[in-house]
Amino acid sequence: MVPTNYYVILSAILFGLGVFAFIFKRNVITIFMSIELMLNAVNLAFVAFSQALGKLDGQVFVLFVIVVAAAEAAVGLGVIILIARNRQTLNVERVDLLKL
């Protein structure tokens, strides 16, 4: 048996890498992918705790997270297409209408 802590620490590392990518990347599509990476890290923690407790609630929640991620990807990529069409760029630094 692999200890639950290993899974949880791996999940935290993946989440941290997702946050890092979110802060440092410039391309809006890559930033969106880093959000997916963070969701995946959370899913890993969910399944690890579900397995450790011997209950299936965590796995059911992972299914809901995946459904929400799919919905989010559909809407978010629509927004990205809109940004690319209206501003001819995918760089988030150039999408600064609300910036002073």
Partner: protein
């Protein structure tokens, strides 16, 4: 070292390398392929934990549907190599420091709560898929129906956002 532990470390290394590659790649399509590596490695970890249904859904929905959507959009928009503009002040070394602090904090906190979980009975083999289906259609039936509504709204939203306005 037992066999599950070796498998865990191989898959964990694959996932972390994929995530680092996602950060280091300059072209979004390479980042997308790195993310697929992470997702497949996570599916392997789910299998290792005995959550075979979640592993299958992970491959089909994440590795298949969502990533295909990403690759489509990257090709549709002809996204090229990321151009380098100046970073904001917070996204430099302070940002890196904050990310490391956040990771350490999250790992410490949930690992501490994981230690108390460890004492609970670690039952190995649950009949995962049957149990999940019973939970989804009995205990979680209203949230489950709500997600179908959510998907419907997301489809409508995507169509409305992406259509060209008529001139």
């Amino acid at each position: 070292m037992t066999a599950p532990l070796v498998v865990f470390f191989v898959l964990a290394a694959l996932a972390v390398i994929g995530a680092i590659s996602l950060i280091l790649q300059k072209h979004p399509i390479h980042s997308a392929l790195s993310l697929i590596v992470v997702m497949v490695a996570l599916a392997g970890l789910y299998l290792l934990m005995g959550a075979e249904f979640v592993a299958a859904v992970q491959i089909i929905v994440y590795g298949g549907a969502i990533m295909v959507l990403f690759v489509f959009v990257i090709m549709l928009l002809n996204a090229g190599v990321e151009e380098h503009t100046s970073l904001s002040k917070l996204a430099g070394p302070p940002g890196l420091l904050l990310v490391v602090a956040l990771t350490a904090f999250v790992a410490a906190t949930i690992a501490k709560s994981g230690a108390s979980v460890q004492t609970a009975a670690q039952t190995g083999a649950l009949s995962s898929t049957k149990g999940i289906s019973e939970m989804v259609f009995k205990d979680f039936v209203y949230p489950f129906e709500l997600t179908s509504f959510l998907i419907l709204v997301a489809i409508l939203g995507a169509v409305v956002l992406a259509q060209r306005e008529k001139s």
